[in-house]
């Protein structure tokens, strides 16, 4: 009986769809609307039947045997506890502390090696070369103070130049 109902539904859907296409092709709009409605009804009916059948299958599924389920649960492999080392244990040193201290020692060693290597890069020859490179930008040998001769030569032609006076005495006149 169910098979007949299913076949009737599917046949209705297919036939109505075919007539819908034929009607559209023949410019018969009222017939096309009618067959379109039949297609829609058949489609909704079939979809509802499919959902109901699925629900029926779920309900008819045999109950799970609790004993077998328990056996299966017990036979599961133990889950790996990957963060056990983070738990606080009063009687044992945490491996985290070990790693922290060990990492500090290694980093200190590396820093000491880098320091020793850096100190070996400064040699007397290198220092002399650096001094020669810095000579062009060094201060003048007599310092930045104006010499006495320049101070005494204030009353010379061109002394009224403000910019020159500022350069020589620090104040413009």
């Amino acid at each position: 009986m169910k098979i007949i109902a299913w076949l009737a539904g599917i046949a209705t859907l297919v036939t109505a769809l075919a007539y819908l296409v034929v009607s559209l092709n023949r410019w018969e709009w009222n017939r096309a609307l009618f067959f379109g409605l039949i297609v829609l009804i058949a489609e909704v009916g079939l979809a509802t039947a499919l959902i109901l059948r699925k629900l029926g299958q779920l309900a008819a599924r045999p109950p799970i045997d609790a004993e077998i389920a328990g056996i299966l649960r017990d036979s599961r492999p133990a889950e790996a506890d990957r963060f056990a080392w983070m738990r606080e244990a009063p009687n044992q040193m945490s491996v985290f502390i070990t790693f922290l201290v060990g990492g500090g020692v290694i980093l200190s060693g590396v820093a000491w090696i880098v320091d020793r290597l850096a100190s070996k890069t400064t040699t007397p020859t290198g220092e002399a070369r650096l001094a020669a490179q810095l000579a062009p930008i060094s201060y003048p040998s007599g310092g930045l103070l104006v010499p006495d001769a320049t101070v005494l030569a204030q009353e010379v032609p061109g002394d009224d130049d403000t910019r020159l006076g500022r350069l020589l005495r620090g104040t413009g006149r």
Partner: protein
């Protein structure tokens, strides 16, 4: 292994989509209006078979045929019915339209006449010929 199970489904799906697209395109082509100019002096003679069932009392088959022809003429094209609808007997009728209908209009007129436009009357268009 999983790919081997999915491939037939994909193939069927692709074929289905291709067929669907082809069908829609064909339907679009079939229902597309392509009109062209016709000679205004030409005429078209439409011959049809009509039958009615459960019509209103006092409503003749000829009246219903004429009404349907007028309605479809208005819907399809700018054409006039020349003269009255002629009854040829045994439910067969004939009407003349001026000017002639182009190919698309002929299809539309045939579809309109054979459609379920008016209750209680069913029409089969026998021919649409130029005269």
């Amino acid at each position: 292994m999983r790919l081997r199970r999915i491939l037939p489904v994909l193939a069927f799906g692709a074929v289905g989509v291709a067929l669907g697209v082809a069908a829609v395109l064909a339907l679009k082509e079939a229902t597309l209006s392509t009109h062209h100019r016709v000679d205004p002096k030409t005429t078209a003679v439409v011959t049809l078979d009509a039958r009615s069932k459960g019509a209103e009392r006092g409503r003749s088959l000829g009246d219903m045929v004429e009404t349907l022809l007028l309605a479809c003429r208005l819907e399809v094209a700018r054409t006039e019915m020349e003269g009255p609808v002629r009854e040829l007997g045994s439910g067969r009728y004939e009407a003349t339209f001026r000017p002639m209908l182009d190919e698309t209009n002929q299809r539309q007129l045939r579809g309109c006449l054979e459609d379920w436009s008016i209750d209680h009357i069913l029409i089969d268009v026998v021919s649409i010929r130029s005269a």
